[in-house]
Amino acid sequence: MATSAGTEAGGGGRSSAAGAAAPALVAAREVSRFYRLGAAVVPAVRDVSLEVRRGEFVALQGPSGSGKTTLLNLLGLLDRPDQGEIAVAGQDANSLSEDARSDLRRDRFGFVFQTFNLLAVLSAEENVAYPMALAGVAAEERSRRARELLDAVGLQGKYGVRPDLLSGGQRQRVAIARALANRPELVFADEPTANLDSHTADGILDLMREVSESGGVAFLFATHDPRVVARARRVVLLHDGRVESDVAR
C-alpha cells in the first residue's frame, strides 16, 4: 500500500504486501486540497498518497480539522483535488466529466453519512431502490433487492416506512442498505456512528464489518469513534492534512 510522506511502520509493509496486480479500488497520489478562509488559504489535505483495496476495512482517524472528511470526499469523487491525482481502478478520475464521475460513484461506491441523508419523501424501500433506479435496474428487481437488503440489515417489515418514522439506528441501517444497493466495491462512511447511541453504533459497525467480510466490500471510515478504530483492520492517522501513520492490524 503506497502511503504519504511521513508514514510510519506498518503502512510501508502493508503497501508491499498489498502490491497485487489488480489496481487499487481508489488511490490518491500526492493529493492536496486547499480552502479559502477570507484572504487566507488553508490546506485541508497536503500531499497525501493512499490506496484502498478490495475488502479492506480502513479507518481514517485524526483530530477535528485533520482532513479526514476532505480526504474521504476526494477519494469518493465528491470533490476534486487542487493538486495530485485520484485514480479509480487505475483510471485518472480528475480528468473525467461530472457525468462520468457521477456514474463511477453510482456503480462503484456507496456512501453512508453521519446524518443518514435519507430522502424524506421516499420510504425505506424506495430509498434503497433509488441508486438502482439511477443504474437502470428494472422496477421489479429493484424492489426485490431493496427488500433483500433491508432484511439483511435487520429491517424486515419496515419497507414502506418513511425515514421520519424510523429511529436513528434504523435510518443508518437503511443508509447502509442503500449504500450497498448497486453492489459497490467500496463504501465511504463519514462518522457513521456519531449520531447513534453506543449500543446502536456497535450493531451498525458489526453489520458493516460483516458485509465487508462476507461480500468483500471495502469500507473507508472517517471517524473519531474508538469503536470504529477498534474494528478497523487498518488505521490511517491524519494530522494537519498529512498522513502521520498507516497501520495494518
Binding site: 470526499n73 469518493g76 465528491l78 470533490d79 461530472e98 457525468d99 457521477s102 456514474d103 460513484r105 453510482r106 456503480d107 456512501f111 453519512f113 441523508n117 430522502l119 424524506a120 419523501v121 421516499l122 424506495e126 431502490a129 433509488y130 441508486p131 433506479a133 439511477l134 443504474a135 442503500r178 448497486n182
Partner: protein
C-alpha cells in the same frame, strides 16, 4: 419511482408553497383562458359581422381596386345581371348580391342632407346580410324595392321623417347630369356606426337604376360562400370565368376590404398581448422565487442525490419536473376557475361599452374556446419551465461537498 412521482411527493412535502404557486399559475391560466375566449369570441363576431356586411368576396372592375371614381359608376360592371349569373353558377357560392354605390342629397322639401346610398336587390340582400335585422322602425325593402327607401336613423332624424313619409333623392348620373326620384320611407335602420347612420340610404336596384339612369350597371357583386368553401380557389375560379366572359374584373377578399377588422384585431392583440406578457412575467418571477427557495431548502438533499450518482442533468430535470407538475396542477385548478368565472360573467348581463364609432354596447359573452385552454396549458408549462430553469441549473451546479454540509 418515476420523475413525476418523485416531483409530486416533493410538492406535497412543501404543501403551502405548492398551493401558493399553484394558485398563481391557476389565476394566470384562468386569465389566459378567459381572455382567449373573449378575444376569440370578439374576433369571430367581428369576422361574421364583417362578412355579413361586405361578403367573403367582392367582384369589382379592376380599376376600382386602386382607382377612385370621378363619375358615378365610372368603374361599374355593365350587365351586372349576367356577371351575377356567372358567379351564381359556381358550386361553392351560397349567394351573390349586387350593390350600387352612389352619393347624393336627400330632401324633405325643406331641408337637404347628403347621403351615402346603396342600391340593393332587397330580398337576397336581407337574406344574406344583417340588413333586415337592423331595422328599428318600419320594415326592410321587399320585392324589387319599388320606390321604397330605408334610411339610417340619423339621416331620418336630420330630415325629420318617419316610415310612410316621402322624400326626394338627388344624385348625379354617369354622364354628370343631376337626376331626382321620389321615394317613400319604408323603414329606419340602425347600422350601429353613428357616422354611417347619419348618411345611410338603401333603395332597390331598380330605383337606383332609375335615379342614376344606368340600368344594369352595378358597382360590385358581393359573394357569400358555402361553409368550408376554399375562399382562394373560388376567387381564382370566379376571376377565370368572368374574365373569359369579357369582364375586366378583380376579386377582392373580405380581409382586404375590412380595414376596420384588421385594425381592431391588431388593437386587441396588442392590448391582450401586453397584459399577457405582464401576467407571464409575474408568474415567472413568482415561480422563480419559489423554486429558488425550494432549491435552497433542499441543498443537502441535492448533495445526497449527487453523491449517490445522480448526474447534474438529473438534478436539473428533477426541479424542472416539479415546475411542470405545478404548472399542470395550476392549469387544472385554473380551468375550473375559468369555467366558474365564465358562467358568472355570462349570467351577469354586464353590457360592455360600445366600441369607438359604434352606437350600441354588447352584453359580455365569454365563449368556451378549447384552443385558449390548450394555449393556456402550453403557456403555463413553458412559463414554469423558464421560471424553473435557472434555479434548477443552479441546483445542478452546487458543489456536492458544500451541499452535504449545508445547514
Amino acid at each position: 419511482m418515476n420523475a413525476f412521482a418523485l416531483a409530486w411527493r416533493n410538492l406535497l412535502r412543501q404543501r403551502r408553497r405548492t398551493i401558493l404557486m399553484g394558485a398563481v399559475v391557476a389565476l394566470g391560466f384562468a386569465a389566459f383562458a378567459l381572455a382567449g375566449g373573449f378575444i376569440a369570441q370578439s374576433f369571430a363576431g367581428l369576422k361574421e359581422g364583417t362578412i355579413q356586411s361586405v361578403g367573403q368576396l367582392q367582384v369589382v372592375d379592376r380599376r376600382a381596386v386602386s382607382g377612385t371614381e370621378e363619375k358615378t359608376l365610372e368603374f361599374g360592371l355593365h350587365d351586372g345581371a349576367r356577371a351575377r349569373a356567372i358567379v351564381a353558377r359556381d358550386p361553392a357560392v351560397e349567394a351573390v348580391i349586387p350593390r350600387i354605390d352612389f352619393v347624393g342629397l336627400g330632401t324633405n322639401g325643406a331641408r337637404s342632407v347628403p347621403f351615402l346610398g346603396v342600391g340593393v336587390d332587397p330580398e337576397p340582400e336581407a337574406k344574406a346580410t344583417l340588413a333586415g335585422d337592423l331595422i328599428v322602425s318600419g320594415r326592410y325593402l321587399s320585392g324589387d324595392g319599388g320606390d321604397g327607401v330605408v334610411l339610417g336613423t340619423g339621416m331620418a332624424s336630420a330630415l325629420a321623417v318617419k316610415p310612410g313619409d316621402s322624400i326626394t333623392l338627388m344624385a348625379t348620373t354617369p354622364d354628370a347630369t343631376l337626376n331626382a326620384v321620389d321615394a317613400t320611407v319604408v323603414g329606419l335602420v340602425d347600422v350601429r356606426i353613428k357616422e354611417l347612420n347619419d348618411r345611410y340610404v338603401a333603395i332597390g336596384e331598380r330605383l337606383a337604376g332609375r335615379l342614376l339612369q344606368s340600368d344594369g350597371t352595378v358597382s360590385k357583386l358581393v359573394v357569400f360562400l358555402k361553409p368550408d368553401a376554399d375562399e382562394n380557389r373560388v376567387a381564382q375560379r370566379l376571376e377565370q370565368s368572368l374574365t373569359a366572359a369579357g369582364y375586366p374584373i378583380a376579386v377582392r377578399h373580405w380581409k382586404d376590404l375590412a380595414v376596420f377588422y384588421g385594425q381592431v384585431k391588431l388593437l386587441y392583440i396588442g392590448i391582450f398581448g401586453f397584459v399577457g406578457a405582464v401576467l407571464i412575467v409575474i408568474v415567472i418571477l413568482s415561480a422563480a422565487i419559489v423554486m429558488t427557495m425550494a432549491v435552497t431548502e433542499r441543498t443537502r438533499e441535492i448533495g445526497t442525490l449527487r453523491a449517490l450518482g445522480t448526474r447534474p442533468s438529473g438534478i436539473q430535470r428533477m426541479f424542472l419536473t416539479e415546475g411542470v407538475a405545478i404548472a399542470l396542477i395550476g392549469c387544472v385548478a385554473g380551468a375550473v376557475l375559468a369555467l366558474i368565472i365564465r358562467s358568472a360573467l355570462n349570467a351577469s348581463g354586464i353590457i360592455l361599452p360600445p366600441p369607438p364609432g359604434a352606437t350600441h354596447g354588447m352584453p359580455i359573452n365569454v365563449e368556451f374556446y378549447p384552443l385558449a385552454y390548450a394555449a393556456g396549458i402550453l403557456a403555463m408549462v413553458l412559463t414554469m419551465l423558464v421560471a424553473s430553469y435557472f434555479p434548477a441549473r443552479r441546483a445542478s451546479r452546487i458543489s456536492i461537498v458544500e451541499a452535504l454540509t449545508h445547514v
